[in-house]
Symmetry: C2
DNA sequence: AATGTTTTCAAACACACGTTTAATTTATCG
DNA sequence: CGATAAATTAAACGTGTGTTTGAAAACATT
């Protein structure tokens, strides 16, 4: 048996698997930067100050290392900051604004609590190689579900399923696009913000935009149906 | 001199460079599917019914082939259907809706006039390798500029630069996200539409959403400033 | 037909990269 | 200390892949 540290994902004690942890860090950075396929095991090991064979010894293969890095990243993303949820007495409009600000921070504020997840996700979206399932189950799924509830509450009366879905996705689009289209926006001279204050300003704007859109649309539907 | 067909990009006569054209087609498909790095010259040549050496002979290298395929794709994207523009007597709201419908068709309706551009763009966004510059100059740039004019007109009074930029990007986000997040939406059970009718329905919804958002925000600004 | 040019082809080259091996060092423990 | 296990290392292996070569085929021109 080549892998004598059979634990699942995270380091147990801060000491165990020193090189294992370093490898996981370096791997996260590299996978996040260039994606699974383009990532280079030798480079990862060099950055981790480890030998090439270490990845086989500690993880088994490049792919296993990738999966582990993904679990790591997904967990970081979820635990970094709690997701706002809609309580029974909350004003849906306020919660929506909070939610969008939180979401935008999650997406844009890459350098802090979850340095790899964003980049890994971007690559995984375009070139799925397994990590997406982990991500959807632990991150995207819960986010989507809660946001859908909030959007539904803002819309008021039930409304069609498809409409709520489309609008939920629209709100997501607003928050996610600044990151997704980063490379293009850059070349167009509109670099997305990265300091918390600027992110918050943008979030407020987008929330206002979304709110007006949602309640306006709800009014239209209502008018139409009577 | 190894490349005796020195024309810039497109086929002149339907006969010239038969294998050259076949190569360009196959390359477009493959690059669109898996991106530059993961694309395989041998596979491309096999699908084109050409020899491996053909890519060197006709284009010079894999990278040159990629650039040529990109120019091809960008041109297809631009010429497929004319972009709606805002004339002096047009209603900005109507033009915005038209524009968004056009944009959404451009993005989602992959299988028709520009089968490769969408996929190539997606990969290029995540892993830039040169094609992005071509794309931004010929496609993204003009689209962004015109949409910015339209958004400005909908907003009415000048308004801050940054606000107009953010909102332009917001509208773009609404149109582009269904494609970008395709893999995730799929796993969540919300497959984006691909038949023209469904695309149009979605476009109308998103346009209404955006319109309410824009004029609502413009009202807020106005109120705030007096 | 002869000659020169353009195009195609099978084979091989060169190198990057994931993986593996076998030996060496380091840690653990009776 | 000495023995067993764990961890690390340098070197090599095998394969995938972009590129190149040199010759043959197809084509054009006189």
């Amino acid at each position: 048996m080549p892998n004598p540290s059979p634990d699942n994902t995270k380091l147990r004690s801060p000491e165990e698997g020193d090189t294992r942890v370093r490898l996981l860090h370096a791997a996260g950075e590299e996978f996040s930067r260039v994606g699974f396929r383009a990532a280079n095991v030798r480079d990862i090991c060099k950055n981790a100050g480890a030998n090439v064979a270490a990845v086989k010894y500690h993880f088994g293969s490049k792919e296993a290392l990738y999966r582990t890095a993904w679990e790591h990243a997904a967990r970081e993303m979820v635990t970094a900051e709690p997701m706002p949820t809609l309580g029974p007495d909350d004003d849906p409009a306020v919660v929506l604004a909070d939610f969008m600000a939180w979401f935008l921070r999650l997406v844009l504020n890459e350098n802090r609590d979850h340095p790899c997840a964003g980049g890994m996700l971007a690559h995984e979206t375009v070139e799925p190689s397994g990590g997406l399932d982990v991500f959807v189950e632990h991150v995207a799924g819960p986010i989507h579900a809660e946001l859908r509830r909030i959007v539904g509450a803002v819309l008021g009366k039930p409304g069609s399923r498809k409409l709520t879905d489309d609008l939920t996705n629209a709100v997501i689009a607003l928050c996610v696009n600044p990151k997704h289209s980063h490379a293009i926006l850059d070349r167009l001279g509109h670099r997305p913000p990265n300091e918390p204050a600027a992110i918050d300003r943008m979030a407020r704007r987008l929330a206002a935009f979304a709110l007006h859109g949602l309640i306006g649309l709800a009014r239209d539907e209502h008018k139409e149906s009577r």
